[in-house]
Symmetry: C2
Subunit: 419 residues, 2 copies
């Protein structure tokens, strides 16, 4: 189907929005959020609702050993690689209605539109609901897609435990869907699309309804230990202190400055900071803290890393502290597909929607797909105040429909592309 | 007895040092520290050992309702106000051998010297062991002396509870000594002396064996709450953050600078700092921290308070944060007796010991006595590396003997002073 046709095949925005809010009732909280922790009964209920909706359309349901669900709408030529569209249905402990669910419901709406029109696209459409994207109870996040692309081995993951010592394997043995799982069929993937809320403030501030995601930021995470000398707050003059907290404060601000020098793409966060034996009238002798550095460009992130380590050394010398910077985790930049980005930009442009290229700050299942070699792109929609992982997470209906509409056109193009 | 005589009446340093280390065996820890928490069985054992030693000298033992112990060595004229000398016997949970115990053992050695010589000084000597100076399990610290001078009412204190809900009253009901307590006899106090380890590094750094304590620093303690916006560390650009931790870091350094501008006497400590929902990849939305400001001069401390609050306001505006500075507690400067300071300085000078006037950074029972109007002074001895409230707390035998010797001469002068 040529582009000129797909442009007229718009989605049913009211239906998509209503279905999204029907889903949000499962695990819905008093404050308007959602709690559907991965591997919980509510997560299973949400996934079952999604499966029921897909079966109504005639989709075949395939489930793999970690619990990823693929709802398959067969195309005219099932031998061709399929087009995969989706996101995740699990939430943070006090999560919102849109993180993840929005992308899956967009994919469902695309399939419903195809069925409404009685179309049979050239390629097979797969709607995917990735398992345990949030990683809130069982780490790491993006677990389902990591197992899918082979970054994690299923047998290893099944042995992972939560803080109470319960393993993923034992939790999954209670999951009838996974117990009966026969895995996903042997299909290639021509393209992967994911719509998601931005989870940041940029689109809202710039009044752009559509973010075309260029890929994932490179990230480096660190564990920092600062050791000084614990001492009594009263008798110890300022010049004779080796105050680990003051060193930590200086390091936090140095880290912030490192990211500010790489504005607007650099990011630096000190998310945890713990004093060894905190007491109101004791000079802290030991502090641990974490640092999270991000930038879309691997080389720039390398420079940020060097600046951060230099600051740590200088502060240690100036304050007589011992500062150890430990590498906790790192991830290179993952670029998304330039042709898919251009296609989405053209579609949005035709419809008169302003777009902005944006690097994803958060991790997404799409990053696993892209890193594994699947042509991948994401569409972001504005998030009120950039607020996410929060019961107050909110998006505008108009923006949600716009995002779904643009995604729909791109997916239909891909479904009907000969190659 | 004129000064010229008292100078020749030196103490038995070996005996004092040995007795101090005998006492340290009660509650002694593997690492060389002491654990005699107030109101514990070990605390009672330590106090009983002290009482036994005092009874061997013929002291009468008086105990009051909070457990302060007064060992009374009657003078030639019991109608004259007495001279009180002492400190405390309880320790921190992982305390050292010298904090408190040194002062009580100095007082015991002074009494032993009087008995050795068969002297009967003009005035009555009271050796005091104050109850619960540390306040480790039951707050506040300096409880025994606070009840003694009337800052706390006994009936109120008996209802105070530890974190497990056990009251002081119920613990004291198990204490045979307190159960039989008839209180201290109706004597005035001519002077109060206390020897103590410095618990800071100043005397060691300046190589001065004797610190003549000028009084207690004025103190202001604060609870600070900083509220920004919790957000995802990846998608949120640096310019759109309201990072409570970065605000806290800036405030901590501002507070440090406030004290440095009042060098060497100003002190500022951020002893606790807690992030609301700490997570490696979440920008902190809420931080609480405590601030402890000290200076010997009330007016200067008032200026420091104003500078601190101004910094908090400026940081709040610059970073779009809400910063609330709450008053937790405050205490004015308490001066010790200038005549007693001069007397101690003259005695030390006669013996060729270098002295230094020093304001006490830590709280001491002596401060309660001074604030209640009793002419009071303290002698500090150097503490290795300024380390205290620590099992590794250490002092040199020579310094301990020097301190006791100077204190002895001053106490004998006071005991024989007609007025």
């Amino acid at each position: 189907m040529p582009r000129s046709q797909s442009n007229r095949l718009s989605i049913n925005g009211e239906r998509m929005w209503a279905t999204l809010h029907d889903l949000a009732k499962i695990g819905g909280t008093e404050k308007g959020g959602v709690r559907r922790l991965a591997l919980s009964a509510l997560d299973r209920e949400g996934r079952q609702r999604f499966i029921d909706w897909c079966r109504e359309l005639g989709c075949e349901i395939e489930v793999d050993g970690i619990g990823n669900v693929f709802a398959v709408l067969r195309g005219e030529d099932p031998s061709l690689p399929s087009v995969m569209v989706g996101s995740h249905l699990d939430t943070q402990p006090t999560g919102g209605k849109y993180d993840g669910a929005y992308g899956v419901m967009c994919a469902l709406e695309i399939a419903r539109g195809i069925r409404d029109r009685g179309d049979v696209p050239l390629r097979t459409l797969e709607i995917v609901a990735w398992a345990n994207e949030e990683g809130a109870r069982f780490s790491p996040p993006m677990m389902g897609s990591s197992v899918f692309v082979g970054n994690l081995k299923l047998e290893d993951v099944l042995a992972f435990k939560d803080v109470d010592g319960v393993s993923i394997g034992s939790e999954l043995s209670n999951d009838a869907l996974v117990a009966r799982a026969k895995g996903r069929g042997p299909r290639g993937i021509a393209a992967y699309f994911e719509a998601h809320i931005e989870q940041g403030p940029v689109l809202e501030i710039e009044d752009k309804p559509i973010g075309i995601v260029t890929g994932a930021q490179a990230q480096r995470w660190y564990d920092v230990s600062i050791v000084g000398t614990e001492a009594h707050a009263g008798p110890t003059p300022m010049d004779h202190r080796k105050d680990a907290l003051m060193g930590a404060a200086e390091l936090a601000l140095a880290v912030e400055a490192v990211a500010r020098r790489q504005s607007p793409d650099g990011r630096a966060t000190v998310g945890t900071l713990t004093i060894g034996h905190p007491s109101r009238n004791v000079i802290p002798g030991a502090v641990t803290l974490t640092v999270d550095l991000r930038h879309p460009n691997d080389d720039v992130l390398g420079d940020m890393d060097a600046s951060f380590r230099k600051a740590a050394r200088e502060i240690a010398v100036a304050r007589g502290l011992r500062i150890d910077v430990g590498d906790f985790w790192r991830k290179p930049h993952v670029p998304f597909s330039e042709p898919l980005m251009k296609s989405l930009e053209a579609i949005a442009g035709d419809r008169g929607f302003a777009t902005r290229r944006i690097t994803s700050g958060a991790g997404h299942d799409a990053v696993n797909l892209a890193a594994s070699g699947v042509p991948t792109c994401m569409v972001f929609v504005p998030t009120k105040d950039g607020l996410s992982h929060n019961e107050l997470e909110s998006i505008k209906q108009d923006d949600a429909v716009t995002g779904c509409d643009v995604l729909n056109a791109a997916v239909l193009d891909a479904l009907n592309a000969r190659r």
